[in-house]
Amino acid sequence: MAAASRGPGVQASRSIVHAMFCLERSYPAPRSHVFKALTDPAAKAKWFTGGEGYTELARHMDARPGGREHVRGRKGTGVVSTFDAIYHDVVRDERIVYSYEMHLDDRKISVSLATFELKTAGSGTRLVMTEQGAFLDGYDDAGSRERGSNFLLDALGKFLQQ
């Protein structure tokens, strides 16, 4: 939660917020399908997108330790978001670990460590994603304001359920 300015000559607006969150989903699909959806370039391109109003500009991935992934696209608001990841650990049907940074236009907004654990749950798969992030100078930019404050209480509810 520390905020720091970086010495003379640098804007006092530099800040870092450390945050961690965990998401858990169950899917009625075998672990091998979920693993493939997470690691196969063609499969991942089907779901790892920006949603409505999003235009893809670039995409490539190599989900092997040391391999990289790059996804860039323009959001409906005109802001260009860029996702750059480096894979650290990939265990078939079990685990994926990568670190990634996000840019909105030219601004680096976060550097994070993300882990994905795949567990058998009945005939399906439980996916646990944990992100530990350092969020940089982010709360003053247009990208952060894309979501209306209507989201607020929903978001709080989800946060409180952690």
Partner: protein, 109 residues
């Protein structure tokens, strides 16, 4: 900007305690009197007041005294600073995982 950063620190500090999160969760349902907030909590009224003071200082909660009853309500504006940081990313992942679920339905078993 410095003020914002300080406010953010206070927000996170306020959210770091489970009792205060319980109080906030209750307040998302609507304004509550201090005594009603205190009732389900296993602690003294002064202890509850102390938690409420932290929440008020962080700007997450506002309170006003009418007659002998102090009523607390959530202050969504202050919360949005923290929300932008943690929940924006979280919600993006929620959407990704929704789409992943839709995609998995199309994959043959």
């Amino acid at each position: 900007m410095l003020n914002k950063v300080t406010a953010l620190d206070q927000t996170f500090q306020a959210l770091s305690d489970s009792t205060r999160r319980t109080i906030l969760a209750e307040l998302t349902r609507g304004p509550r009197s201090v005594s009603k907030l205190a009732r389900p909590l296993a602690m003294s009224l002064p202890a509850v007041m102390q938690h409420l003071a932290v929440l008020e200082e962080s700007g997450l909660v506002r309170s006003e005294k009418i007659g002998r009853v102090r009523t607390c309500r959530i202050e969504p504006k202050a919360l949005s600073v923290a929300e932008q940081w943690i929940n924006q990313r979280r919600l993006e992942w929620e959407r990704h995982f929704d789409r992943l679920g839709e995609y998995l339905k199309t994959v043959e078993k």
